[in-house]
């Protein structure tokens, strides 16, 4: 069982030097040592991961923040029999650790050592994997499972979710990455006009396995997993039980 550790670019900062030395010592003590790849502007994450898998790594561990893990999962999903782990280092952009039940910092090594594994669904957008949510604002037409056509008018905040939590217009949502479904959440909030007593707030929730998202006017830029963008029209689908993830006992899903 070979381990590969993907260090994010920001960990090259001297502030993290001591923490990384301690991390590597603990991993050696727990017999979890493995090859290290460091992300930089000149190195592609795909090259680093395919090289590691070719050399026999079967557990890929993201060391960094939410973006590090999301970028790793996007690429790791292309390979078979891969398990993904996460060591959240640093305090900025750390929302996924809590959802996965993984403590921040080097304490996460113990979670890695326990190897409690959950298989989760991923999503696909125009052939590329994603795992948390897709967000966009505008007017849309959605074809769901080739059976029904939905038209969303007005300026709608649309979120298509698979994993994670979401607060939208005072409503809380928690997506389940093990239900073999995506949820489309559309929220429309009209602005208060002088002839109206208050602004109206409407919410729609629609479950789907496959959908085609088209903008009613000009193409709209969709934000995928908070770190990349895709333009409409987009073909979006669930990819069931696609990746094995090491999680903690206190995970929230």
């Amino acid at each position: 069982m070979g381990y590969f550790y993907l260090y994010d670019n920001f960990l090259q900062d001297r502030a993290y030097a001591t923490q990384l030395i301690r991390l590597e010592n603990i991993l050696t003590d727990l017999s979890l040592q493995g090859r290290v790849g460091r992300l930089s502007l000149l190195k592609s994450i795909r090259d680093l991961i395919s090289g590691a898998v070719r050399d026999g790594a079967s557990t890929l561990v993201a060391v960094g923040n939410d973006d590090t893990l999301s970028r790793l999962i996007e690429v790791a999903a292309d390979f078979k029999k891969i398990t993904v782990g996460f060591i959240p280092l640093g305090t900025k952009n750390q929302t996924l650790a809590k959802l996965l039940g993984i403590p921040l910092g080097i304490l996460a090594c113990q979670t890695l050592s326990n190897r409690l594994i959950q298989t989760i669904d991923l999503g696909k957008i125009n052939g590329q994997f994603w795992w948390q949510k897709i967000e966009g604002v505008g007017e849309f037409k959605i074809t769901i499972d080739q059976k029904s056509q939905i038209t969303l008018t007005g300026k709608q905040n649309i979120v298509i979710g698979n994993f994670g939590d979401l607060i939208l217009n005072d409503n809380n949502f928690l997506f389940n990455p093990q239900d073999n479904l995506l949820e489309i959440i559309a929220s429309y909030q009209s602005t208060k006009k002088w002839w109206k007593k208050s602004a109206t707030n409407s919410l729609s929730i629609l479950p789907a396995k496959n959908l085609k998202l088209t903008a009613l006017g000009d193409n709209i830029l969709l934000k995928v997993d908070s770190f990349k963008t895709v333009k409409t029209p987009a073909i979006i689908a669930i990819a069931p039980e696609k990746i094995r993830l090491i999680v903690g006992k206190k995970r929230i899903f």
Partner: protein, 129 residues
């Protein structure tokens, strides 16, 4: 299961939403927008006051407060509120019609044959228990 703050509703069709085609669900559903085609849910269905539905509807239980043009089959309790207007035939095990509700069509009470969607939900509930 996906969790939200909306009383366990798994599908909500809001006021600014128009749905055309077949809409099949296993969970609870609320309609406040415009729907044309068919609606089938094994759970509870609520059709709101502002909703305009032109569809044949099948549900486990239902409460209708808005406009519905189409036939309705409900396997348990169907409640028509004072603002409801139904144009079509209604079939339900238990039918509650409140003062002011309008039905333009035939109605039938008693047990209704279950379709595959409703049977599947029944099995899921039984296995969960």
């Amino acid at each position: 299961m996906f969790k939200n703050d909306n009383n366990g509703l798994e599908t909500i069709i809001g006021p600014n939403v128009k749905v055309e085609g077949d809409f099949v669900s296993q969970g609870n559903m609320s309609v406040e927008g415009i729907v044309s085609g068919t609606i089938s849910t094994a759970g509870n269905l609520y059709i709101g006051e502002q909703a305009k539905v032109t569809a044949n509807v099948e549900a486990g239980s239902a409460q209708i407060a808005g406009h519905l043009k189409g036939n309705v089959v409900v396997h348990e309790k169907l409640e028509l509120t004072p603002t409801s207007q139904v144009q079509g035939d209604v079939s339900a095990k238990i039918l509650v019609v409140m003062e002011g509700a309008q039905i333009n069509g035939h109605y039938q009470m008693g047990s209704v044959p279950q379709t595959a969607n409703v049977k599947e939900r029944g099995k899921k509930i039984a296995s969960a228990e």
